[in-house]
């Protein structure tokens, strides 16, 4: 408990610091406005009291003219204070709106920008729904806290302090009684508050579970239907839902009872102060106060009013407890995301436009067809290496974690323009190899070179720019078809995009879509078939025009007949490029220059289609397997 408390103290300090960083000028001004507002809101009561006192004194005399001057004066002063408080209140509420939403935006940007730079490993090992809830649930709790709790706490704090000072001014004895009451109230608040906070946090956890379950079932709703599994899933859901209910109910019960308890402790305290005041007055015990005033009725009455006000303040503070606890938990999670270590990049070799002058490569600003690697650290004469797409693996070992090696002793080379295929059972390590070329993951042993340069020396962004990847799971983004194709090259013209689509064999079906290239793609892609999505992904890679292409089951969802039609385009696309192909369908890989057969992380056979058939090894079995059984 203690450890957690200190932990959230750290978070609180950091949160406040961050907010000040976001709004170094505006936030202090706002806080000043709040303090000012709280201070002057407690002053009018004094003038009000004055007016009442005057009226009390002179109502029997019926002499309006005699007192009108005085009353008008006080009313005017009062009006001035009211006006000031209104201005301060108006200013701080508006400023607070800006600060709240602005801070949320800045947090979102910080999170998102940080997230974009995280290594792929983070996304492979963290539940996507979890990452998502940083942006939804946690940001929501922060909003609540910044917009309401912080100003409320400030106001209550300031006005409590003011009241305490005035109390001390009047009578230390009575203040002592009040302090005992306050002590009791804080105890109760802490007790009930921590219980309710505990359940509120549990409620968030249970809510997360329900969310996860619903998401999984909704995703597989069709499977549920096909298996008539409705009742079973309903039972499972009920269990989680009931659990959430019981925790939420308890959390809210605690939260809802806190207010009445505090209010009535306040009432009792009021009575006690009255009685003690009475006793003190009767028994004539000398008063102890800053003002040195003797205890009298004129002190006791306002004192009682202040006691009420004070209890009201504590009630307000207690109202914010849940928001603060949940906000802190949210802030802590958000900071965790922000603190994740970004993908490291120590590469210094960059990709530049180049042209040939006197048989030598020279860097140039304009876009040429020639690209070169620029090695900052190399001596002048061989600083530039032409980008050709020569990829070599030498004795590469790799595992996703320390304990388990997935790839063993991989040695292979792909000369510029060659097509290298990987075949093998699922889980043999085909996709893993492609993860290494673009450095989504770093190898444990051995070297991978690109045009003779160790890829760990190449800046990651440049390395990846020189590689085109078409992935197994097609990802398209919300937006029009043409925007999705343009993703490969942001400055591509419409013509270039269409050219690429034609190359990929996607042009025909796109033009048949209701709005052609402007058709919007929904995020779940419901309006396109899997095969059509793959074709768009291929077009996207085509427009990027990289020297090396990696195709991981790029055509698995395209039927072979369409593939046949696409094939020409694909051949054109692959022409002159180094291509790595992963495919289940052997027809897709047959015409490769080299075929690697992988088994459990080892390359067990390599060679051309003809070579491998002649070898009559694993590949031969895979290839002829279907026929063998007949």
């Amino acid at each position: 408990m203690n450890k957690r408390a200190s932990f959230s103290k750290k978070t609180a300090i950091r949160l406040i610091k961050t907010l000040f960083e976001f709004y170094p000028v505006m936030l202090p001004i706002t806080l000043l406005c709040i303090v000012f507002n709280a201070l002057i809101s407690s002053v009018p009561a004094v003038f009000q009291q004055n007016i009442i006192a005057i009226v009390e004194k002179s109502w029997q005399s019926r002499d309006w003219n005699g007192v009108s001057g005085q009353i008008t004066k006080y009313v005017l002063i009062l009006a001035t204070f009211y006006a000031l408080s209104l201005i301060a209140g108006f200013t701080y509420t508006r400023l607070m709106a800006t600060i709240t939403q602005g801070s949320l935006k800045k947090f979102r940007l910080k999170m998102f920008n940080g997230m974009e730079d995280l290594p792929i490993k983070y996304f492979d090992t963290n539940n996507h729904g979890d990452i998502m809830s940083y942006y939804t649930n946690d940001i929501d709790t922060l909003r609540q806290m910044i917009s309401q709790s912080i100003p409320q706490l400030m106001i209550s704090l300031v006005s409590s302090l003011t009241i305490l000072c005035i109390m001390l001014y009047y009578s230390a004895w009575l203040l002592f009684v009040v302090l005992i009451g306050i002590f009791l109230m804080t105890k109760v608040t802490k007790r009930i508050g921590s219980n309710s906070a505990k359940y509120f946090i549990q409620q968030q956890i249970e809510l997360g579970k329900v969310e996860g379950f619903v998401e999984e079932i909704m995703n597989g709703q069709k499977v549920v239907k096909v298996f008539c599994h409705e009742e079973r899933t309903e039972e499972d859901f009920d269990r989680l839902n009931d659990e959430l209910f019981s925790v939420a109910e308890r959390a809210n019960k605690y939260a809802n009872t806190l207010m009445p308890i505090l209010m009535n402790i306040g009432n009792v305290l009021y009575v006690v102060v009255a009685i003690v005041g009475g006793i003190l007055l009767l028994s004539g015990i000398p008063n102890l106060s800053v003002s040195g005033m003797a205890l009298s009725i004129s002190i006791t009455v306002p004192f009682l009013n202040m006691t009420r006000q004070f209890c009201g303040n504590i009630g307000q503070v207690s109202n914010q407890i849940n928001a603060v606890v949940m906000g802190m938990a949210g802030a802590e999670r958000i900071f965790n995301l922000i603190d994740e270590t970004a993908e490291k990049d120590e590469g210094y070799v960059t990709l530049v436009n180049a042209k040939e002058e006197n048989g030598k490569l020279v860097e140039c600003k304009e876009r040429t067809e020639v690209w070169a690697w620029k090695d900052e650290k190399a001596p002048e004469e061989n600083r530039y290496t032409r980008l050709t797409g020569d990829v070599r693996f030498k004795d590469v070992d790799f595992g996703y974690n320390e304990e388990k090696t997935v790839l063993h002793d991989i040695t292979l080379y792909a000369k510029p323009g060659q097509k290298v295929a990987f075949v093998g059972a699922t889980g043999a390590g085909k996709t893993t190899i492609t993860n290494l070329i673009n450095r989504f993951y770093d190898i444990q042993r051995g070297t991978i070179t690109y045009d003779g340069i160790d890829i760990s020396k190449i800046r990651k962004s440049d390395l990846r720019r020189s590689l085109g990847i078409i992935l197994q799971d097609t990802v398209l983004f919300t937006g029009s078809v043409i925007e999705n194709i343009r993703y490969g090259k942001l400055d591509a013209t419409d013509e270039e995009c269409m050219e690429a689509a034609k190359l990929a064999g996607a042009h025909d079906f796109i033009t048949r879509l209701p709005e052609g290239y402007q058709t919007m793609i929904a995020s779940n892609g419901a309006n396109l078939s899997q095969g059509q999505r793959q074709l768009i992904a291929i077009a996207r890679a085509a427009v990027a025009d990289p020297p090396v292409m990696i195709m991981d089951e790029a055509t698995s969802s395209i039927d072979t007949r369409t593939e046949e039609i696409v094939q020409k385009g694909m051949d054109a696309l692959m022409h002159g490029r180094t291509v790595f192909v992963i495919a289940h369908r052997l027809s897709t890989v047959q015409n490769s220059d080299v075929i690697m057969v992988l088994e459990q992380g080892h390359i067990i056979e390599r060679g051309s289609h003809e070579d491998l058939i002649a070898q009559k090894g694993k590949y031969y079995q895979l290839y002829t397997g279907a026929f063998e059984l007949e």
């Binding site: 509420t93 939403q101 619903v214 998401e215 079932i217 009575v271 085109g468 072979t560 369409t562």
Partner: protein, 581 residues
Amino acid sequence: MIRVLMKSIREYKKPSILAPLLVSMEVIMECIIPFVVARLINQIKGGCDLGMIIRYGMILIVMAGLSLSFGAGAGFNCATASCGFARNLRKDMFYRIQTYSFENIDKFSTSSLVTRMTTDVTNVQMAYMMLVRLAFRSPLMLIFSATMAIIMGGKMALIFVIVIPILAVSLFLVMKSVTPIFKNVFKKYDALNNSIQENIKGMRVVKSYVRQEYEKAKFERSAEDVCADFTRAEKILALNNPMMQFCLYVAMIFVLSFGSYTIITSGGMDLDVGQFSALLVYNFQILMSLMMFSMVFVMVTMAEESAKRIAEVLMEETTLHNPEHPVMEVADGSIDFDNVSFRYSEHAEKMALANIDLHIKSGETIGIIGGTGTSKSTLIQLIPRLYDVTTGSVKVGGVDVRDYDIETLRNQVAVVLQKNILFSGSIKDNLRWGDQNATDAQMKEACELAQADEFVMQFPHQYTTHIEQGGANVSGGQKQRLCIARALLKKPKILILDDSTSAVDTKTDALIRKAFSEYIPTTTKIIIAQRVSSVQDADRILVMDGGTIKNIGTHEELLKTSSIYREVYESQNRAGGEENE
């Protein structure tokens, strides 16, 4: 809409009624206590009769106790009512969704259903809590205070007749200008979150194309946009507080100046000092209760959108109904399509299937080949009545599928869907979807048939291996084989594989088919595939094109008669042909 939601209150009616009742009593206490307090003060002022002070003190303490128990009781009931309502809403939605047909499911995206069941329900829960607690509290306070003010102040209370409408109108104006902004911004907010989700899912693509900066800029734009709108709305909402204060201050100054004038000029006849200070207190209370009312109003308007989205789910009628006198047994695995046409929605221009006539004998093996978008999946989804035909009829075992009990039918017609899914849980848990009471031996047998046993046994925990959500920790081919095994456990009369072996290598694919023909020869088997090798040994093969059956026949026949089939076959076997020479 409200009525639809109200149905979910059910067993929580009692706390839902009790809570406001208790709140009302609490309010009454809250209003009486100041009275007694005023008396107490008078006692102290009057000369400190300690006995009287203690007596009043005792009364006050008892009242505080009552107020506490009412308050706590209200709090408890309110918690139960609102959380219970939320629970029932979630439950009703979930149960409702379970009755949906495929057509209904297609209407809602997964993420929207998830939001509806979580965020939207939470919003409604909060609003309900506010309603139960404050809907009675603030009007009661208002009425009570106003009455008291009139009794006490007489003519002075007229100020409220002026101030309250002003405040009410301006609160209303604020709400009115804020609501459309909120509605609009929530849509943008959804889009923002959607783009985050896409980035998380598509991070490999973002990184491959080195588009981090581009995505950041894109995100910043939408975040700015959302922020600007929210700020605008909140700034308007922020007017509430100063506005209320302004009215309060105006009333205060009026009461103070005009009140003191009245008292003094009338010599206390029209108004006395006690009434005067009480007026000031009620003044405050009236405006406070109005303020609370406006807060309820904000909450309710914000929850309105959510309530609408929930009601949409609850009101969605399933498009498939069980017949009144359902047939409870499927005679055999024969299938007849009689002049079937089908389209996905009434508005669709094109028929997805047109005039299909097809008769499959029980125990036959049928292969289906065709390009993407030729309605292969659509055709087979009509058999277990996942969709209803538009015209014509589909018969299974000689009976129209619409006459069967849906569960009976689907238990006999097992479909392995193209987009198949494993659920988090052990392999056994997943297999038991096919048969709740399957023994270990039966599960193993099904897995052997589906060629899954071998790799399952290689897992460290074998059949108890935990499958992660969506089957993330098994490969595509393994997933497909487990899905087939799961379907086999149903022991269906008809087994349909919708491109279910696309990620399985040719050899295993062949082994699966071999196992089928040896071990479940009487089951009607329909196999949709991309690979000719997957269907070429079928009894008959359908070639689909543009929503119709283009050709039908055996492998040999089709090679002669169907140009499409020949093309597909040649594309897949060209090099193989060379090798065979």
